[in-house]
Each structure stands twice: as C-alpha cells, then as structure tokens.
Symmetry: C2
Subunit: 225 residues, 2 copies
DNA sequence: ATATGAAATATTGTAGACAATTTCCTGATG
DNA sequence: CATCAGGAAATTGTCTACAATATTTCATAT
C-alpha cells in the first residue's frame, strides 16, 4: 500500500515542527537522514521529502552535499515576518468579511473554545498547535488557496522565531484576543477586526526579545568575561 | 559525480517555468514524470524533486496518486497575489533605502539596461526572465533571505497569472518604470520609490483581463451560440 | 609539538526496480 | 442504448543499492 505501516510524510513534518516549536530541537542542529530514517522507521526517501517540505516552510536549511540544519532566523528576518504577516492577515480579514457564514463563525468559536481549555490545562503541545491553527483557520475561511499557503508558511516561520526569541515562559497568542477578533467579524465590523488583528500581532511581536545579536561567539565572550 | 552529464534540478524548474510563461504549457496540462524523465534524460527521482519545487512556487498542483498539473489560478487569486506583492515590495524598497550602496545601484542600472536591449530586440524569452528578475534583484539587494524567497514565490505566480490573463500582445513590466524606481532609490527618496513601485504594480495588473469566469464550458457555449 | 596531508568513515545524491493505485478500454447486462 | 463491472495498461509512490562528496582521524614531516 501507499502507507505500509509507516507514518506519512506530513506526520514526520509535524513531529519535527513540534520538536522545534517546543525547543527540543535547537537551531543549527543537523537533521541527518539516516538517523531520522532509523527513528521513524521509514526509508531515507521519505525523510528526504519531509526535509524538503520543512525547507519550503522555512524551518530548515538544506545545504547541498552537507545536509539539513534547523534554521537560525535573524532579528531582521523576524521583523520582516511580522511585517508581512500584518499585511497578509489584513487581507485575510478583508476577504472574510465579504462572505462569512454562520458555519464559519461556529468553527471559529469552537476553535477559540479549544484554545481556552488547552490554556487552562497547560497542555503545551496543544497550545502551540492551536494558537497557530487559529490564524490558519481564518485563512482557510477566506477561501483563497494562495493566502492559505502563504499563511501556512508564515505561521511555521513564526513558530521558529517564537521558539528562538521568546523570553517569557508563558506562550503568547492568547485566546482572548482571538475571541475579540471573532466577535468583530461576527458583528460585521471589518475595520475593527482588522485593527484588532494588527494590534494582536504587534502584541505577539512585542513579547519577543528582538534586541540584536544572539551570536554564539558573543555569548562565549560574555560568558568568559 | 553529482551532476553526471545531466542537467540540475534548478535547470529543469527553470525550463518548465519558462515554458509556462511562454504559454507553451497550458494550465491544466498534466506533467507526467516518465515523460519528463525521458525528455530531460534524467531519472524520475530528479523530476519528482523538480515538480515539488514547482509546486511550492505555485506553478503546478500535485494531486496524490494522480500527478502534477499546471495550475489554473482564479481571478481572485490573481488579485490576491498583486495585493500581497504591493505589501512585500513596499517592504523591500523600505529596507533597501536604509542601506543602498553604489555597487547596488550599478547592478540595478545594468539590469535595466539589459531589459532595454531585450525589449529593443524583441527577445521574448529574455524579456520574461529580466522583467521578473528586476524585482528579484531588488529583493536580493534588500538583504533579507525571507523577503527574497517570498518575492521568488510571488514572481513565479505572477508569471503564471500573466500567461493566463494577459490580453495585450506586448509584455508589460516595461523597463522605463523600473528605471524611474531606480532613480528614486538613488536619490534617497524612499517615499517616491515606494509610490512608483505601487503605481508600477497597479499598471501591470491593469493590463490583465481579470473580468470573471474564463470557464471552459462558458467558452464552449459562447463559441456555439 | 604543531601543522599538513592522506586514508577511512560517514553522509548525501542518484538511479533503477518493485508495489500500489488510478485510469481507460472492453464487454456484458438491464 | 445507456450503464456498470472487470481487467489491462499506464502512472505514481516507495524502497534498496550504488556512486560521489564531505568530514573525521591518524600518521608523518617540519
């Protein structure tokens, strides 16, 4: 069969993504094909495809004849990602406002509810998945495959950035701000929804420590001083 | 060796991209692996990687167990692409203004000069490559790998959209407007450069025929009426 | 003792073969 | 005559083996 007892490529990608988001896989670490093939008990061919997918999501860098490494996003790149997210998600909200159904609102409210329970239970893994999933759900509802794909990319990169530059112990992207956005959309107040989204993203960005160099050598010198 | 007499994946991707941009490959056409492997005289494994790359650039859709097909972007998706391009390229110009060198300006002017000669000679292939290349060069100069990758994606999609919805015989993205943008950047006038870029993109979009359905069945009925 | 270089090891890149699925064609039946 | 079932051909998905490249290790010479 197509998936003979082995896990699918998508599942491998998600497992690696989660490991990175949970900081179990540090930036710069090499993801060796043979090693991963042994861990997931599949052939290297499938691992290669999973790594290629992770590369297009901006989570790993593949250097020819060298291998795949977990990305180390720079501060500037982090700021770029948030800048573009503000544009793209603004477009998403604008598109949703035009044609939102009752079923869409139900899905959104249900998602926010899931986020609340995950937060209450301190279920870290669920919190990470769901907080990104909310934004992805909005993109899906917008009905544009292009915007959905773009958001998928941006969410992945944001996860990595968050894993690297987060300084607070608690996870951001809290459900309350999500709930407010849903309410604004439900009320048909596009301008408000757009403003709330922008504010939300600025809030998330502000919780990161984006003050210049986190260079290895710099840290070493600081440690030895 | 790694490339034993065979062409690289990147070269395959570029050839396919060019075929699509030149309308030799129509939307909806299936790109069969065996067929392509025979054409380029490489193994299917390399073709598969090329197709995966084309998928992430938004040029083909891969349906599991079915194959790869040239995408058929909708009118809405086309508008989304241009909307996002305006945001991303605005960010690119902003980043460039901060730290543009004399060498950068030389490269830009050289590129525009190449565009002019290609236009003068009616070298269609070169015109297509160079007109997208200008925007890509700007992204490269901005120094952000993230923005560069995003622009690469957007340019590919724009090429497909142009191939599908262009109604004028002549290619858009003329070198004159590019030259103006370079001049504004050289003068350090960020606001003007940003405005020119926005105007340029609106101009390109306006030259497309984005008036609703280009459905096959619709065309058939119209033809039989 | 350190630096250089060459062999050994490990890892990635590619190709070809096999398995599974889908599609298309043929033929039987209501 | 249309429709649906069955089988053959074609196409995609996956695995294993081999070739090329990079890294490490160890010996040797300065």
């Amino acid at each position: 069969m197509t998936e003979q007892a082995g896990i699918s490529i998508q599942q491998i990608v998600e497992k690696v993504w989660l490991s990175i988001a949970e900081r179990r896989l540090r930036p710069g670490v090499q993801l060796k094909e043979g090693q991963m093939a042994a861990i997931f008990d599949v052939s290297r061919a499938r691992i290669r495809q999973a790594l290629a997918a992770l590369e297009r999501e901006g989570l790993v860098t593949i250097i020819p004849n060298r291998g795949a490494f977990v990305c180390q996003p720079t501060v500037d790149e982090a700021r770029d990602v948030f800048t573009i997210r503000r544009s793209v998600e603004g477009r998403v909200v604008a598109r949703i406002g035009a044609s939102v159904t009752k079923a869409d609102l139900t899905r959104l409210r249900s998602h926010v509810a899931q986020e609340r329970t995950a937060n209450a239970n301190d279920a870290t893994t669920d919190i990470i998945k769901l907080s990104g999933g909310f934004h992805l759900l909005l993109a899906e509802i917008s009905g544009s495959d292009f915007l959905f794909g773009m958001m998928r990319d941006l969410i992945s990169r944001t996860s990595l950035i968050t894993a690297v530059y987060r300084n607070t112990a608690r996870f951001n992207c809290g459900p309350d701000e999500h709930a407010e956005i849903v309410d604004a959309i439900a009320a048909g107040d596009l301008k408000k929804a757009s403003g709330l989204m922008e504010h939300h993203l600025e809030h998330v960005e502000s919780e990161l420590d984006l003050r210049e160099v986190r260079d290895m050598s710099h840290d070493l010198r600081a440690a030895l001083a």
